[in-house]
Amino acid sequence: MGRYVLRRLLQLVPVFIGTTFLIYWLVWSLPGDRFAGKCGERPCEPAYIAKMTEKFNLDDPLIVQYGKYMLNLLQGDFGITSKEVSVGELIANAYPNTLRLAVVALLIEAVIGLAAGILTGLRGRGFLDNLVLVSTLFLISLPVFVTGFVLQIVLGFELHWIKTTVSASPAPWGHLIAPGFVLGSLSMAYVTRLTRTSIAENKRADFVRTAVAKGLPQRRVVGVHLLRNSAIPVVTFLGTDLGALMGGAIVTEGIFDIKGIGNLVYDGILGKDGAAVTGVVTLLVIVYLISNLLVDLLYAVLDPRIRYD
């Protein structure tokens, strides 16, 4: 187990450096004026340019710049926006909302997705199975912003069941249910399908047959042997998804006006504030990479075969 963790950590290092370097290069080192389009429609103020040049060491060679930037980043210094607000501060205010939203989304997709997947996987072909398959196809095909707008119009403006915008910060959990559903809807469909296939495959597995032949009660055969094995791919998917949801919240937060990280990125794009966008996106990528690593470790815990490769 220890060696596996070490190997995964070592593998992550080049990926981490490569990805962050790629982002840094795209933002600060493309040919042309590096401050073009970083301060909204107007050109940047000379004072800001000077400040940023100093802060990001933009006169140094690229590698040195990147190195110093990463060092700052690791110390929580994400730079400043064109309005000279600390990006780190903005993130600190926004991330609790995004985290809450992601957790609500994850819960919704896990509960509904697992339930639907287990039910159809165990039952096999039939009306319910077809119904679930068609609904998941629909959810996969619906772009998130369409789901968001439709829910906002129908449940919010027409029926007044939900608040159409959640501008309070920190966002109350109850207000996040509909946005959470929107954010989690795509993954919910994947969780359902993954669970269904996984169970349908394992249902006929030899070890399930053995469990029956051992005279175990049906409940235990399904609950311990079938579900435990089928859960491995689903749990890993859910784990990876937490990182992806944080990044994918941009659209959802934009629609429901949730003051989270996604909103920060969205505002940054609209305001053409390059420093803010890269700071936040780099952070989200780091979160994504770390959550992937944690999932890998979780996978090793769940599936003993992996530890001894």
Partner: protein, 320 residues
């Protein structure tokens, strides 16, 4: 030993002739002659309602993209603010948008941009990912290691975030004509998607490489090109095809998402994503400006996803 088939001919026949078949023929089932996987899959596909519906939908959308004037004679760019946000009526089936342009005509003409982005991104993704995957799988060793790590780097970028960075950086750095933006959108989609395709191709190539007949071909001195083209490529074709079909649908959805975020296509280009982004501020008062482009978008994505699903199930004998 008597040949059972000749022995059977001379027998006193009391049962039907069909029962007198040789052992070899017994193995076949009533369904008919054994078929190859591809023709078997095709035979299976044609009988699936899911496949027929999705294929018909896709043909219709392709037709719209190629010859929009077949479906409408209205100019999609002509706008009259006097009829802004008018609801659907007999002369404009889908109503008018915020600028007073005919939504039906715009939806028809919008198919082209969406389809072009989807198709070209898919082709580019499959070409980049497929080529690198084949090379990595075929040569293995440090080439495989290097390519896999590069793929990991791009895979480490969440899709929307990566696209935001690429699009906003490149757009800030250069001029932004309509074709350039379309090119950038296609580029960022492909650059962020190829690792998936590469992994599929790589594992298919490795599987093929380990087949005994490929080992034999190598031992007999077949050239690398021949082994790649004759053995590895066909092996990888099925999974890549399934991936490409589903990805095409997804890419069309992504184009719309990027437009929605304000970093993708934009007016004067007409695309479903642009229309949905335009409707953003008026959906409360004129939901039809969102509804129709969103419906077309969803139906198209759905058609490709269903097609991919149907093809996958047909190609995977385990699912039957």
């Amino acid at each position: 030993m008597t040949d059972p088939s000749t022995a059977a001919t001379g027998a006193a026949v009391t049962s039907t002739a069909g029962e007198f078949v040789t052992g070899a023929e017994h193995i076949e089932t009533k369904a008919g002659k054994p078929r190859s996987l591809a023709s078997d899959a095709w035979y299976d596909l044609r009988r699936r309602p899911l496949f027929i519906v999705s294929a018909a939908l896709i043909l219709l959308v392709l037709l719209m993209a190629a010859w929009p004037s077949l479906f409408t004679s209205v100019d999609p760019t002509y706008a009259d603010l006097g009829r802004s946000r008018d609801a659907p009526s007999a002369e404009a089936w889908f109503g008018y948008d915020n600028q007073g342009a005919d939504i039906f005509a715009r939806v028809i003409y919008g198919a082209r941009a969406s389809i072009i982005v989807g198709v070209v991104s898919t082709i580019l993704t499959v070409l980049i990912g497929g080529a690198l995957g084949l090379l990595a799988g075929f040569y293995g060793g440090w080439i495989d290691g290097l390519m896999s790590r590069i793929a990991d780097v791009f895979f480490g970028l969440p899709f929307v975030l990566g696209a935001i960075i690429i699009l906003s950086s490149f757009r800030a750095a250069g001029s932004t004509s309509a074709t350039e933006i379309m090119f950038l959108v296609i580029l960022s989609i492909s650059v962020l998607s190829w690792p998936v395709c590469m992994r599929i191709m790589r594992s298919a190539a490795i599987t093929a490489k380990q087949q005994d007949y490929v080992k034999a071909a190598r031992a007999l001195g077949a050239s690398s090109t021949r082994i790649i083209l004759r053995h590895m490529l066909p092996n990888a074709l099925a999974p890549v095809m399934v991936y490409a079909t589903i990805a095409l649908g997804a890419f069309i959805g992504i184009e719309a998402t990027l437009s929605f975020l304000g970093i993708g296509l934009r007016a004067p280009v007409v695309s479903w994503g642009v229309m949905i982004a335009d409707s953003r501020d008026v959906i409360r008062v004129a939901p039809h400006t969102l509804l129709f482009p969103a419906a077309f978008l969803t139906a198209t994505v759905l058609a490709f996803v269903m097609l991919g699903d149907a093809v996958r199930e047909a190609l995977d004998p385990k699912m039957r």
